[in-house]
């Protein structure tokens, strides 16, 4: 099982969609397409705002209850960052196709799993945001997400960023946190057994990954090593991906 340490992304990979993105990180590869604003179905139409429709397609088989849950989580979070008021009675459709997931050799692999899947949530979230940016859908803010697991090791609590499936199994608690680019907590999902104090530590770690301040990354020399070792800087990643894309698009000039 090879897991790429740094996230990778490509924008506008699908020619016929309004916007699309392919993202791979921590063993997950996801392709997203965004179409919108398009005409909404009668039952989805909202007189004041656009309806955001999220479809999650698993790597194999058809979606079950777990995919419905992921869709509802993403839908409510993305509605918050998209300027839905700008498109009344419209629909913004986001389709997320999971292409590959990291395997876990220690457990029976079942096609249908009903339990929550925390480790895939940041990847889905990140891909959706990238695809929305690629489709030029107006947004209030961008958002970044990360997953953190708390493991107890020799009576000491240790935080693991982007844990593997095996680590999640042994973890005491797993947390997914998403922050907007205004440093606000947009989404928090946790499961396991933990105290308020532990959640605070997780919050700090996730915030460090998701919203590193602008000034710190201005110069490459300024980035200290130990901070980088804790996890990737998601906001910087989002920015550099888009910068690359814009530079490529404007190359003819």
């Amino acid at each position: 099982m090879t897991v790429s340490a740094a996230p990778e992304a490509a924008l506008s990979v699908l020619p016929r969609a309004d916007g699309s993105a392919k993202y791979s990180h921590a063993g997950y590869t996801i392709t997203a397409s965004v179409n919108g604003p398009i005409e909404a179905q009668r039952r989805d139409e909202h007189p004041y705002e656009a309806h955001v429709d999220v479809v999650v397609r698993p790597a194999a088989g058809v979606g079950g209850t777990r995919e419905r849950h992921l869709e509802s989580v993403l839908q409510s979070s993305l509605t918050q960052i998209i300027l839905v008021k700008n498109f009344p009675r419209a629909l913004i459709q986001i389709v997320l196709q999971i292409e590959s997931t990291p395997g876990n050799d220690y457990v029976n692999t079942k096609l249908f799993q009903a339990s929550l899947n925390f480790s895939i949530m940041p990847a889905l979230f990140q891909t959706a945001v990238l695809a929305l940016l690629s489709a030029a859908v107006p947004m209030r803010a961008t958002a970044t997400a990360s997953v953190v697991a708390v493991v107890s090791q020799d009576k000491e609590k240790k935080l693991i960023v982007d844990p593997s499936a095996r680590e999640i199994e042994a973890a005491q608690s797993v947390h997914v946190l998403a922050f907007t680019s205004h440093d606000e907590l947009l989404l928090a999902e946790s499961e396991g057994d933990f105290s308020v104090k532990e959640w605070d530590d997780v919050y700090e770690t996730a915030k460090k990954i998701c919203c590193q301040p602008e000034s710190q990354k201005a110069g490459i020399e300024m980035v200290p090593d130990d901070d980088n070792a804790r996890g990737p800087d998601m906001r910087q990643f989002l920015r550099s991906t888009l910068e690359e894309k814009v530079a490529a698009d404007l190359h003819w000039k």
């Binding site: 004041y48 705002e49 209850t65 777990r66 419905r68 849950h69 869709e71 509802s72 989580v73 409510s76 979070s77 509605t79 918050q80 300027l83 839905v84 008021k85 457990v107 029976n108 079942k110 799993q113 009903a114 339990s115 929550l116 209030r140 199994e169 042994a170 947390h175 907007t180 205004h182 440093d183 606000e184 907590l185 947009l186 989404l187 928090a188 999902e189 946790s190 499961e191 396991g192 057994d193 933990f194 105290s195 308020v196 959640w199 605070d200 919050y203």
Partner: protein, 371 residues
């Protein structure tokens, strides 16, 4: 629109329910904004913002289920029935045989895998019962039903409420074991251990032949917001009420033989996690600019245990499951789900942990548990 609402005189000629139907957001806002500073804000249902509806729990109301509970909080009523059925291991694909000893020595994580791998807990939620106008009867499960059932399933597993040892059905070929029944507590006694070591034969070891599968069915009789809290309390109460018949595997007939209804053992339920949901009501209707500017227009209220009207007006909800039944009564958080907004940050989350602890005590008393 929202700013004009407090000025709207009540002498408009509408009855309260009409006003609530026509413009629900200003209606709730007017109720929450006190007319004079001395008044405490009050919701449309007469509760204070941090006041939850009292929970009433009635158990063992279904005669054909192994355990059942009826939970009522305000106008939200859920019936939960737990039905156990025998699943022979021969019909489990990818079954990994385990011996009596290895089952006992297995680590916690492996035990959890057992419950998950063989799907021994099957929760299902039925909302299409005509419980609320927004759910049409006789349609496939709605997104809400699927979401709630996923979360119940996940919480059941992550809290390790049920011990897989309770669900195993053994086949014991040794005569003493057969007489002793299938309860593994009996098998732990020292003389049995010695006996087994002396014999040391593979066929004389008890073999795992079947599992109990718990079908946990939830039926919403009436729905008035906050489905998860009520559903989870019903699941917990029903599981605590569950009594499984004593079962052993008959190798000749190749089936599990259950004791009579009188001889049952209660299912052990560890911990007492309680869910507590709160919704965030924003002053601004169709709030688009919930940005960090904390002006007068961005006021918000945290409404505990929201009802259907409040749920339809609130975007952001937080559900926290806590358990204070551990040693020292320390608050342990079992799960958090916060989505749909950016108001609840770190400080509010801390405050909610305190509110959830209070709710835990209320629900514990409703369950009639002394922890």
């Amino acid at each position: 629109m929202a700013t004009a609402a407090p000025a709207a005189p009540p002498a408009l000629g509408f009855a309260r329910p009409t006003f609530a139907k026509l413009s629900p957001h200003p209606y709730l806002l007017t109720n929450l904004t006190p007319q004079s500073p001395s008044d405490t804000p009050c919701r449309t249902n007469g509760r204070a913002p941090h006041e939850a509806r009292p929970m009433h729990i009635h158990t063992s109301s279904l005669s054909h289920a192994h355990g059942s509970a009826l939970v009522r909080t305000g106008d939200t009523t859920v019936v939960c029935g737990v039905r156990a059925e025998v699943l022979p291991v021969s019909s489990i694909p990818q079954f990994r045989p385990r011996t009596h000893l290895s089952a006992h020595n297995a680590s916690e994580t492996e035990g959890r895998g057992e419950l998950k791998d063989y799907d021994l807990l099957v929760p299902n939620i039925e909302l299409a019962t005509g419980c609320a106008p927004q759910f049409l009867p006789g349609v496939p499960p709605t997104t809400l039903a699927q979401t709630v059932s996923t979360r119940i399933y996940s919480l059941l597993h992550s809290c390790r409420v049920v011990d897989p040892a309770d669900l195993r059905i053994w086949c014991d070929p040794s005569p003493s074991g057969a007489a002793a029944g299938e309860r593994d507590e009996k098998m732990d006694t020292d003389d049995n251990e010695d006996q087994r070591e002396q014999e040391g034969e593979e066929e004389n070891q008890p073999q795992l032949m079947a599992y109990w599968v718990l079908y946990i069915d939830l039926l919403f009789v009436s729905f008035d917001g906050n489905p998860f809290d009520a559903a989870w309390a019903a699941v917990l109460a029903a599981l605590r009420d569950t009594k499984l018949p004593q079962a052993r595997w008959d190798p000749d007939r190749e089936m599990a033989i259950c004791s009579s209804r009188a001889k049952t053992t209660p299912l052990r339920v560890s911990g007492l996690p309680v869910a507590c949901t709160a919704a965030v009501f924003l002053k601004k209707e169709h709030a688009e600019t919930a940005t960090s500017t904390t002006g007068e227009n961005n006021r918000h209220w945290i409404l505990l245990d929201p009802d259907r009207l409040e749920e339809s007006l609130c975007g952001e909800t937080v559900t926290m499951a806590v358990d204070c039944s551990g040693e020292g009564g320390e608050v342990r958080i079992k799960s958090i789900e916060k989505l749909g907004g950016t108001v609840v940050g770190r400080e509010l989350m801390r405050g909610l942990a305190g509110v959830a602890e209070k709710r835990w005590r209320e629900v514990r008393d409703a369950l009639g548990v002394n922890v």
